[in-house]
Amino acid sequence: MTDGIGARVARKEDKRFITGKGKYTDDIRMENQAYAAFVRSPHASAKVTGIDASAAEAMEGVIAVHTGPELKADGIGDIITGWAITSKDGNPMQCGIWNPMVTEFARYVGDAVAIVVAESQDLARRAAEKVSVSYDELPATVFADHALETDAHQVHENVPGNLIFNWEIGDEEKTDAAMSGAHHVTQIDITNNRLSPNAMEPRSAVAVYDEAEDHYTLYTTSQNPHVARLVLSAFYQVAPEHKLRVIAPDVGGGFGSKIYIYPEEIACLWASMKTGRSVKWTSDRSEAFMTDAHGRDHVTTAKMGFDADGKIVGFHVDTIANIGAYVSLFATATPTYLYGTLWSGTYDIPAIYGTVRAVHTNTVPVDAYRGAGRPEATYMIERMMETAAREMGMDPAELRRRNFVKEFPYQTQVLLQYDSGDYDALLDMAQDAANVSGFAARKAEAAGRGKLRGIGYSTFVEACGLAPSAAAGSLGAGVGLWESAEVRVNPVGTVEVLTGCHSHGQGHETTFAQLVADRFGLPIDSVSIVHGDTDKVQFGMGTYGSRSGPVGMSAVMKALDKVEIKAKQIAAHVLEASEVDIVIEGGEAKVAGTDKTMGWHEVGLAAYTAHNLPEGMEPGLKETSFFDPVNFSFPSGALICEVEVDPDTGVTEIVQFTAADDFGTIINPMIVEGQVHGGITQGIGQALHEGVVYDDSGQLLTGSYMDYQMPRAADVPSYTVSHGCTPSPNNPLGLKGCGEAGAIGAPPAVINAIIDAIGTDNLQMPATPQAVWTALQSAKMPMAAE
């Protein structure tokens, strides 16, 4: 079947995007459209002492100005977090209270103070500038490693010392014993730089209140519209669920930043009710840098112990994670259960222990960004392997091989049980593709041009397929993380698949259709995928954590199983055969070993005319399924980066990048490769270019694309990507998930290559020319050209 599983099918959804007919939230305009702009705190930490909106309200075309205290008085709830973490002393975490708009204290630059609604976007923005807010400025706490110091300003009254939790995982006693008996101990002190996700479509919301029906509709840039509706309804009391429809139409990238339900969505819904107008807000890029949840921002000290043969005996980690001013939806899960549980990496480590202290600062909330915790874990472990190999005089690839997990399932010391993998095979594949044996010659040739050439490795494993609901619940999750699907066969045989996943670039309209094409031998053009609308799809948890394949597609497979059973019963009845003799392929139901067939459309028609169905069978051909995975899935990979550093300028050029990944079964290799390319590029961005910078007072210095360096086409090479396959036993298709792998694996490969080139590991991300040049000087390396 040409359109089935494994086929390199061009995307069905492309036509609307390449012709300019995509329908993104900001493209929507209602008949009674009004526009919102937000008055935002220019201070990182301040008490609001007064708001005078009279000048703004007097402007012609300004409809209303509303403030935080008004919103609170109307009973709109505080913004919640979805994952409760328990500290190692048994105490529950302490979170600062997050009012959707400031009621008393502004806690980061960009904290919303008031919403202005006007007849045009331009007018709303001009009016917002006329709202006069009086502030008493307060000291600000900005940096993770300062937040716990005694002189740090306390961000929230109810969070002493800014410590949200001090979480632990692993066996401290066993690890201490292992480390003290180690032949060699390597210590690294690293930061994981703070990033802005930067989906190209800025966030946007169109809120529509229908007074006659007392009903709300929210069009929004969301990765998970059902979760948005649940949270808006159950926790923020905007409207009961049956009176609130959330639609996430075409969404221009998410990378985690569009999981969360932000203050602007709440305020627009509320303002729509207050004004009786449809209220639209669209972020500009400066606002996005200020208010979209950031990612990463860890400070870590890690120690790894080895025996005389280079075998790891113990691993100890101490991390401070900057959570920002408020605790966002997944903010507490990211530096704990998506981070500490991955500390074993691809290695068999007999003793692991570590702590994570999460802290409040006067910065925008930090939450899951592509990879979410797993890039931080991978970066730490893989830098550790590079430094340890250098210290012990070993080849970094050989040190990895000596410690790889080789038998599966593998129970780590940090909760997770890896499902399947072959890490040696992936490293072989990557080394062959990267022509590692020719590296010495390439290095010598580069030296002749005055360039320092280096090679860097990263082998990673990550946990995808979020998540087994009961396990997640036992660890503090506020929701189940299953997925739902509905498969509707229409009377003419065309098929609609409704999924609770949401596609914002992943290509679900093609890959989900391939599952149906594969099962029944139908062309994918006769299958359509419906997603992103709470009125159409009954429920779902959305798309993040590389879950749409392992969890979302598994739900579709279960629903297809049910459809197939019923279709066979109908065909057997009509064709007067035994059900076990019916096969469905090539768009037909056939009686095996005979020439008796009926077309798929005839099966559909028989189901809906219901003139001749088996005794007792209900009419119709539509099935629903929920899939709750029994375990995570564990994609893995080996990445090899080669760089050339100009010792005079510190400029790093990535000259070769090779990835060998194991995503289990692959539905559409073209789309999987695209996910890998994009992920690697974001990883290169983190390694070389990107970094959110706040100054000591909490002012955001990287507020536009002139200050925050996004990777451009000329900054990256073409990639060499290949795949191994050890199917996951934890879902029907053997899928593992591919969306985050590149961003998880790439940063340490790049940095390790630079370390190899410049001969020192005294380097933090982003490895800008200045940082690399400074590291080179500190190492007093002889210049290659000399």
Partner: protein, 165 residues
């Protein structure tokens, strides 16, 4: 307010617009051609690229009132009836888009660079394509397949130009 007359995608349009209206706003809000996107406020991302008198411009930094008499082409205007422009088709064939938000600007920039290089008789190499994309940011694809798409479309456009001679 200024009265502005221009040709957009082959159709004559006339509107009264404030002096401050950007071409991107004019296209999106006045003409409801929402294929032209705005992804930043500093003229960096290139999601807003359209063609004015045959040259690529960033519509987010062009005032509509400055374009009286201009011939403007947007992403909605490059297909020939039901036939996609070769650049559009190549983005589909090579998976040169994921979320689609930067895509209109990428396609318009791609067509522009191919036209300029062909007019100058220069070879549009991979390196040249990457340099030429300096003003277009994509967060999804890592550029790999965008470069392949533009390379492929350049060949098809060259063949078409030859056939037309």
């Amino acid at each position: 307010m200024n009265n502005v007359k221009m040709t957009v995608n082959g159709k004559a349009v006339s509107r009264d617009v404030p002096d401050t209206t950007l071409l991107s706003e004019f296209l999106r809000e006045d003409l409801r051609l929402t294929g032209t996107h705005v992804g930043c406020d500093t003229s960096q991302c290139g999601a807003c690229v359209v063609h004015v008198d045959g040259r690529a411009v960033k519509s987010c930094t062009t005032l509509a009132s400055s374009l009286d008499g201009a011939d403007v082409t947007t992403i909605e205007g490059i297909a020939n009836g039901g036939d996609l422009h070769p650049m559009q088709a190549a983005f589909n064939t090579h998976h040169g888009l994921q979320c689609g938000f930067c895509t209109p600007g990428m396609i318009m920039s791609g067509i522009d660079m191919v036209n300029r290089f062909q007019a100058d008789g220069k070879d549009l190499t991979e390196e040249a394509i990457r340099e030429e994309l300096e003003g277009n940011i994509c967060r999804c694809t890592g550029y790999h397949n965008i470069v392949k798409a533009i390379e492929d479309a350049a060949g098809i456009m060259a063949d078409m130009a030859k056939a037309a001679e």
